[in-house]
């Protein structure tokens, strides 16, 4: 698999958004460990997490990471090359004007942060310049967000359900919209590194 064969312009992208839940932690740590340190698109990660545990997640993800990982404050500016993690008990929205906007609205799909909201708002801002990646998880959160991302011209990738610890989320994403690539985690890393 190479990005050239896909016939997409690898300079067109401005951001990556990743959704994950149960079973995605190992995949995420692997991506962060093996991604090229020069990868310079911002990466937005909406991962389901315990609402009352504010600390520790970033530290755990950062252990082997090549990238700087931040839980953004409300209205923080988006910077290139940084990995952003949705904070505990907040939805993480992407706001016009290159900023984050956090929210404590109702849970969506029983989740706050909800993957749907980060995908929806990110694709509203980035249109066809965003890559959406859905990883392992146990509910259908993210499927609607993935559909909107696709409708707005974004590029969709789903982790191969056969490889997922729990495949509910990836299967829901696959049935909600056209998925451009279904990849094993190693191929997702390769795909991202190909963009550098």
């Amino acid at each position: 698999m190479s990005i050239e064969k896909l016939n997409i312009d690898k300079t067109q992208f401005r951001a990556v958004v990743i959704g994950g839940s149960a079973g995605s932690f190992q995949v995420i740590t692997k991506i962060l460990a093996e991604i090229n340190p020069k990868f310079d698109l911002p990466i937005f990660m909406a991962l389901h997490r315990l609402k009352h545990v504010r600390n520790g997640f970033i530290e755990a993800l950062a252990l082997k990471s090549n990238k700087v990982i931040i839980e953004p404050d409300d209205k923080e500016s988006i910077k290139r090359g940084i990995v952003y993690l949705a904070p505990a008990n907040y939805h993480m929205n992407i706001e016009l004007g290159n900023k984050f906007a956090l929210s404590t609205e109702e849970m969506v799909n029983n989740s706050r942060p909800a993957i749907d909201l980060t995908f929806d708002t990110a694709s509203y801002v980035y249109k066809n310049k965003i890559i959406g990646i859905m990883l392992s998880g146990a509910n259908k959160d993210g499927a609607l967000g993935m559909k909107k991302l696709k409708e707005r011209g974004g590029f969709t990738i789903v982790q191969d359900p056969a490889e997922c610890t729990i495949d509910t989320m990836t299967r829901a994403a696959i049935s909600s919209t056209k998925i451009d690539l279904i990849l094993k985690s190693q191929e997702i890393i390769k795909f991202l590194n190909n963009l550098v």
Binding site: P87, Y90, L96, K99, A101, T104, E105, E106, D120
Partner: protein, 277 residues
């Protein structure tokens, strides 16, 4: 058929109608959540286009009340971020009461009032309830009447509030402060008998009193930076010197005009102290 999306100019047109007809200004709200709230309203009231919503707002002022109620976010918890409430109990309030006999507290954007009860219970358990005057305000009149009633879903009370209260480390059980009536938890009214509830629009109403503590947690996140800056200035004016300002755990003052007039007391809990007029 639900409306899937709104254009920026449709959102602007709605804001303009609301401004002209009702004198509320939503034009500086954060777009990402404002758009979602409006779409949600259209789904609830089965309104199929922004133009129809606009007409309805123009002609139906009763509908506007429901619109405000659904537009504003009314999701809150008792003792959200228990560590903040411990810090208030163990440091901030003892510090204030060491020099003050009485204090004034403002819960700005109090929504359905859960934080007001959190504060009242904290004060009561530490013998301070009659030494604190609480003001609780919100833009939405109907959510304020809900706050006054103090009735909450029992499920939420047990699954969210009780758990937070235990993490906070209160001296009793949360259930000691409410009665269950038909599956609803009715809070002990004596807790809030001294609370003044009033409508207040952070965007337009301005300063109305001076306070020793202002809590405005996860309210300004729905505003854009420019509006946040204006409201921060209004809060600064509403605080006595050496008094406390508390925002949500992922909110920040750092880039605002009044940032240099505060010192950080607790960065983790976002507790700031005004040190300059």
């Amino acid at each position: 058929m639900a409306v899937e999306d709104l254009e920026i100019n449709e959102i602007r047109a709605l804001c303009q109608t609301v401004q002209e007809k009702y004198n509320y200004d939503f034009s500086n709200y954060a777009i990402s959540s404002l758009k979602r709230r409006i779409l949600r309203i259209m789904e609830i009231f089965k309104i199929s286009s922004a133009a129809i919503l606009n007409d309805k707002l123009r002609t139906d002022s009763l509908f506007f009340k429901q619109f405000i109620n659904e537009l504003t976010v009314n999701v809150t918890e008792m003792y959200r971020d228990p560590s903040l409430w411990r810090d208030l109990r163990d440091k901030i309030l003892p510090n204030l009461f060491s020099t003050h006999n009485n204090i004034k507290i403002w819960h700005a954007g109090c929504s359905s009032g859960e934080e007001v009860y959190s504060m009242a219970i904290l004060l009561k358990e530490n013998g301070w309830l009659d030494k604190a005057k609480i003001y609780a305000t919100d833009i939405d009149e109907s959510i304020l009447s809900k706050a006054k009633e103090g009735k909450y879903s029992l499920k939420n009370m047990i699954e969210v509030n009780e758990k937070n209260y235990i993490r906070y480390g209160g001296t009793k059980k949360l259930e000691d402060y409410y009665k269950v009536e038909n599956g609803i938890a009715k809070m002990d009214a004596s807790l809030v008998s001294q609370v003044t509830y009033r409508t207040h629009d952070l965007v337009k109403s301005g300063v109305f009193n001076k306070f020793d503590i202002i809590l405005c947690r996860n309210v300004l996140i729905y505003f854009n930076q420019q509006l946040q800056n204006d409201v921060f200035k209004m809060f600064h004016e509403s605080l006595f010197n050496y008094s406390y300002f508390i925002i949500g755990s992922k909110e920040t003052l750092i880039w605002s005009e009044i940032a240099t007039k505060f010192i950080t007391v607790n960065q983790e809990e976002k507790i700031f102290k005004k040190v300059k007029e």
